[in-house]
């Protein structure tokens, strides 16, 4: 694999002088930069919309069996389950009109899904076949919310001890920390421009790359990813100017982020962001090549209109990337095949 990658790199290097870097030797478009370059399968998840319609394709996760699970806010089939080739295996879910966030957690052998619904103002835990385990309403006990309408949860992250972190990304921007029994243990964040606050806390995940686990939380409107301890203590900011990032997804030593808009935030923009172990942007499929001046990343923008509003990514064991898009003309997920 390394040899092949080196060969492709060398071929690309040779081609660069001719201005041909955008294609593989077989004539396929190549996206991305450095060690993270991809062929594109625009039709990977395409289905007949008469039978399996989608509205926004919001989030994607992969289960232990390698199946790709898509969450859409179309109530004909909120969940569509594909194999890695894009063949539809299963469809369920009619009760999630505001289906937005989807997180999968292996809990002692059985896998569960955590769905956030911004219209129901609820978090719902289900089995992989759609049986509801529990439903949580808005965090009234926090004393911060007067009504459920203020609570528009966008994402969850589940710790190994079963604790559940909820990002109220379209609501009051608080991060709620519960145990698995639904007891509220801590609340932090909130809307604002201070270090420990957020403008659009859209995504959250647990980062297990370091010695101790941390939370990575998106401040999308600020083009920032913020680092917190599991106890909600602020640790640092990763600046990604021009990148309106959604949920962070940690895979290996990298962080992948669907980037829903880019540049000036115009409609039709967006790309995929990939950060290395030092949280520096190293590849941006669909975007301009990341360049740093010291620690300052140049302001990012889209260069090719391959994506339109990527909303989530899922990375498989071969490091291929599946991309779900919001407000993209009812289109299905795209696959990036790593070369």
């Amino acid at each position: 694999m390394t040899n092949r990658r080196q060969f492709i790199k060398q071929s690309l290097w040779a081609a660069a002088g001719l201005g041909l870097v955008s294609w593989t030797s077989r004539g396929e478009l190549l996206l991305g930069h450095g060690d993270f370059q991809y062929k594109v399968d625009l039709n990977w998840g395409a289905l007949n919309p008469q039978f399996y319609p989608v509205k926004d394709c919001h989030e994607l996760v992969q289960d232990r069996r390698g199946r790709i699970i898509l969450l859409t806010n179309h109530t004909r089939n909120n969940i569509l389950i594909y194999n890695h080739n894009g063949r539809l295996l299963e469809a369920w879910g009619t009760e999630y009109p505001g289906a937005h966030g989807l997180t999968l957690k292996d809990e002692g052998g059985e896998e569960f899904l955590y769905i956030t619904d911004t219209e129901r103002h609820e978090i719902i835990k289900t089995t992989l076949s759609g049986r509801v385990v529990w439903t949580w309403a808005y965090p009234k006990e926090s004393g911060l919310y007067d009504a459920q309408e203020q609570y528009l949860p966008t994402e969850t992250a589940i710790a190994d001890n079963g604790d559940v972190y909820v990002a109220d990304g379209y609501g009051l921007q608080y991060i709620m920390h519960y145990n698995q029994q639904g007891e509220l243990l801590n609340v932090f964040g909130g809307k604002g421009k201070d270090n420990e606050q957020f403008l659009n806390a859209h995504g959250i995940c647990i980062d297990n790359r370091g010695l101790v686990p941390e939370l990575l939380i998106t401040a999308r409107q600020q083009n920032q990813l913020k680092r917190f301890g599991m106890d909600g203590v602020f640790k640092g900011i990763i600046d990604l100017p021009g990148a309106y990032i959604c949920r962070p997804v940690v895979q290996g030593s990298e962080v992948y982020l669907a980037t829903i808009w880019s540049g000036d935030g115009s409609s039709g923009t967006g790309f995929v962001s990939i950060l290395d172990r030092n949280n520096r942007l190293v590849s941006a499929p669909g975007g301009v090549e990341p360049q740093y001046d010291g620690d300052q990343l140049r302001s990012m923008y889209q260069v090719l209109q391959v994506f339109s509003h990527p909303h989530d990514v899922c990375v498989d064991k071969d490091r291929n990337v599946y991309v779900a898009q919001w407000n993209a003309g009812f289109t299905y997920p795209i696959k990036l095949i790593r070369v």
Partner: protein
């Protein structure tokens, strides 16, 4: 070597066949000051191997024959820069337009009344934001103090000058972001004491355009004005739009009364 190049050339041109025709993104446009007193600098960028950027300054469409962009453009007059990116392997980028506007002919005026009120989420810093010469960002959420937004079919504004001022043009500075349901209005009419002085009609766009600032100009008879009434009629979202048939939002950040030479 030349044989090899020829071979590669043939090979690559055939490679592109059968690929989905992917379009270049519009060039990034950086303007140091959209509203200026002496000059503005406009920078274009789409950093991708093999891309050529071309532009016009006279409002004409950009083609392969238009001027090739090499260095930042320095403009000392009101002008609309139109630009596109070209690459042999990809479809030409959408057209991007950016207007820079000279303030030297403007007269001091205030907006003293508006009906209906702007939407609660988009009240800007109040009516004074409309005459403070502070341009809102293209990403309206980045400068909430600058933009006033309405979801209404019609909008009345009353403008008052400090002292009677000679003017022959009223200009509305607007946002066009069809993806966010924001469009320039269909019609702008200017009245004085019930008398129609001037009107400008704008056709609905035929397809989605990149987000842009828009200046809608209404020519007026050259007179000394103290108060003017402005009627803004919103665009109906066109057939190709997701919200077809619904009223488009109007986003306004500045109003200018000027005496053009």
């Amino acid at each position: 070597m030349s044989k090899l190049l020829l071979f590669l050339g043939l090979f690559t041109s055939s490679m592109a066949i059968g690929q989905p025709r992917i379009q270049l993104s519009p060039p990034k446009v950086e303007v140091d000051s959209v509203l200026f007193t002496t000059a503005a600098t406009v920078r274009l960028e789409l950093d991708y191997p093999g891309v050529a950027l071309r532009y016009t300054l006279d409002g004409s469409p950009v083609s392969q024959e238009s001027a090739l962009y090499g260095a930042p453009l320095h403009l000392d007059q009101t002008a609309t820069v139109r630009a596109r990116a070209f690459h042999p392997d990809f479809a030409d980028s959408p057209d991007v337009r950016r207007t820079v506007r000279s303030l030297k002919n403007d007269r001091k005026a205030d907006v003293v009344y508006v009906s209906p009120d702007p939407a609660p989420k988009y009240t800007g810093a109040g009516l004074s934001a409309l005459t403070n010469q502070q341009k809102g960002a293209l990403n309206f959420a980045a400068t909430p103090e600058a933009w006033l937004g309405w979801e209404t079919d019609s909008l009345w504004l009353k403008i008052k000058t400090i002292a009677p001022a000679a003017a022959n043009q009223l200009t509305l500075s607007l946002l066009d972001n069809a993806g966010a349901w924001i469009m320039e209005p269909a019609h702008v009419q200017v009245y004085q004491s019930g008398e129609l002085l001037g009107a400008t009609q704008i056709a609905a766009p035929k397809a989605v355009l990149p987000t842009r600032h828009n200046f809608v100009e209404v020519p007026l008879p050259l007179r000394r004005y103290t108060t003017l009434d402005v009627l803004v009629l919103s665009q109906t979202l066109p057939e190709w739009h997701d919200g077809a048939g619904r009223i488009a939002w109007v986003f306004l950040d500045e109003i200018f009364l000027s005496q053009m030479p």
